[in-house]
Amino acid sequence: MTHHTHDEAATHDEWLDAIESGEGFYLRSPEGDGSLPPRRVCPRSGSTDLTRELLPETGTIETYTVVHVGATKFADDTPYISAVVDFGPVGLTGIVRGVDLDAVGVGDEMTVTVERRETTDDRVVVFRPA
């Protein structure tokens, strides 16, 4: 996909914008390692030659927790499911919606989107069942 130079390193907001518009991406090093913006250097390979690649459409829950006591900025979101989802080259952290609190499980297949927090209306990474 897009080859970016130092002058056009993606920001975290651009990354959220991309996910929101259905074109989520990660940064790929020539060695095939994945990372997420903002990055100038691949944390695994050390390469500075990073290209934008489309995120796989689905990932699987690697681990999760049901958060009952949240930070102030998530107070009205509790209880919520927090999860790390394995998308292959990268892992993403976000909130799982569309699943009952007691029905979530490791290995569940998820898509990623960007929605709003209930507490502050800020954007948040959200996983929904594939």
Partner: protein, 388 residues
């Protein structure tokens, strides 16, 4: 290279200290360390001070010179910040500086005020040790991050909440006679299991409390100790530090802590020991699962065996390798910027024989301290040995 000796240690009681200012807490711990050591304050070459959230909890930055002043010192002072491992790093850098010959006497330790914040504020303050863009904004808290690690551990190695409950029970039992501990009361497995959920599978009794407190450790060179006739039978013979990706999502595995493994390997090599030589340890049990990860990362238990160590009695006071005889972060308390110094102080007292729980390790010669930052994106390990 000189041997670094622990001339004296000082602690405040851990707990809620009301209106006491952080500077006064650190002064109290420091004065206790000077009294314990018999060292003149004017001999101190520098202060290595650990603090994490002072800018949030007390609206106080630039704390190191303030703390030097409070402790009656006129030497240079530097604050070290590595989240919950701040004091551990402050002590490690003190050890390295004395070994280099640049200093003979360093006061190291730390202080944290946390009860100035309400639970939501404290939760948010602790969360800044995580990745702000990818974890905090995604709803990750300090407890929920460890809950993610706990679930990953259960998936990989097995284990259940009751295993974790036994760790909390053990550490509370160890704290009963420790005059510096926040919780000097025993709890039952049932109480731990019945406590309210914070972030599943972790419940309230899996978590360390919110704590105020200070620690101070007076480190001196061998030559200074001899010249000044300082009685300092305990030495820091090994130091190591390791790191990892800040965000859990970027790590190879969440059921292990490579930063601890790296720090332990370096510290053991530095001291010329192996994990088999370790008699007991104070480890960073900010949550019960963290003790499991720590004792496995330190090589004291094989991966997958740490989860049941407390339940099987292997880490209790009269077990094969006592863990957290002070009560640990869980029951002694966790004023984050002071904890690394507290661990060194407790091991020193245990090895010298003047700790309430010294009888449990009366034949011990080697204790290990493990201090971790965040979700173990940083770890510091020290080996302490007592003269025979």
């Amino acid at each position: 290279m000189t041997t670094v000796r622990i001339a004296g240690v000082g602690l405040t009681p851990f707990g809620a200290h009301g209106d006491r200012a952080g500077r006064e807490l650190f002064a109290a711990a420091s004065l206790a360390a000077f009294e314990d050591a018999g060292v003149e304050r004017s001999d101190v070459d520098q202060l290595n001070y650990g603090n994490f959230m002072g800018a949030l909890a007390e609206d106080q930055g630039h704390q190191a010179p303030l703390m030097a002043e409070a402790a009656g010192l006129t030497c240079p002072a530097t604050r070290y910040e590595e989240a919950c491992a701040s004091a551990g790093v402050a002590i490690r850098e003190a050890v390295r500086t004395i070994r280099s010959g640049e200093a003979d006497v360093i006061l190291a330790g730390g202080m944290e005020r946390m009860t100035t914040l309400d639970t939501g504020q404290a939760t948010a303050a602790l969360a800044i040790a995580a990745d702000e863009l990818y974890e905090v904004r995604a709803g990750v808290t300090f407890p929920s991050a460890y809950a993610l690690m706990a679930r990953a551990y259960f998936e990989r190695f097995g284990g259940e909440r009751e295993d974790l409950a036994h760790i909390a029970v053990k550490n509370h039992a160890n704290a009963v006679d420790n005059e510096f501990a926040q919780y000097q009361n025993e709890i039952s497995v049932e109480q731990a299991l019945d406590s309210p959920p914070v972030a599943t599978p972790l419940h309230l009794y899996d978590a360390c409390p919110i704590t105020d407190g200070a620690s101070a450790v007076l480190l001196v060179s061998e030559e200074y100790a001899v010249t000044n006739n300082i009685d300092a039978p305990v030495s820091i013979t090994g130091t190591g530090q390791g790191g990892d990706n800040l965000a859990l999502q970027d790590r190879e595995a969440m059921a292990q802590t490579p930063a601890t493994e790296i720090a332990a390997a370096e510290a053991y090599d530095d001291a010329g020991i192996t994990a088999d030589d370790v008699d007991f340890a104070e480890v960073h049990d900010c949550f019960t699962i963290a003790e499991v990860l720590a004792i496995e990362g330190l090589g004291l238990f094989e991966p997958g065996e740490g989860i049941s160590a407390a339940r099987e009695g292997r880490t209790i006071a009269d077990g094969e390798t006592p863990i957290n005889l002070s009560g640990g972060l869980k029951a002694k308390g966790h004023p984050v910027g002071a904890t690394g110094g507290s661990q060194i102080a407790e091991i020193t007292r245990l090895l010298r024989g003047d700790h309430p729980n010294s009888d449990a390790v009366d034949d011990a010669t080697i204790g290990v301290a493990h201090n971790a930052g965040g979700t173990v994106a940083s770890a510091v390990v020290h080996v302490l040995e007592v003269d025979q």
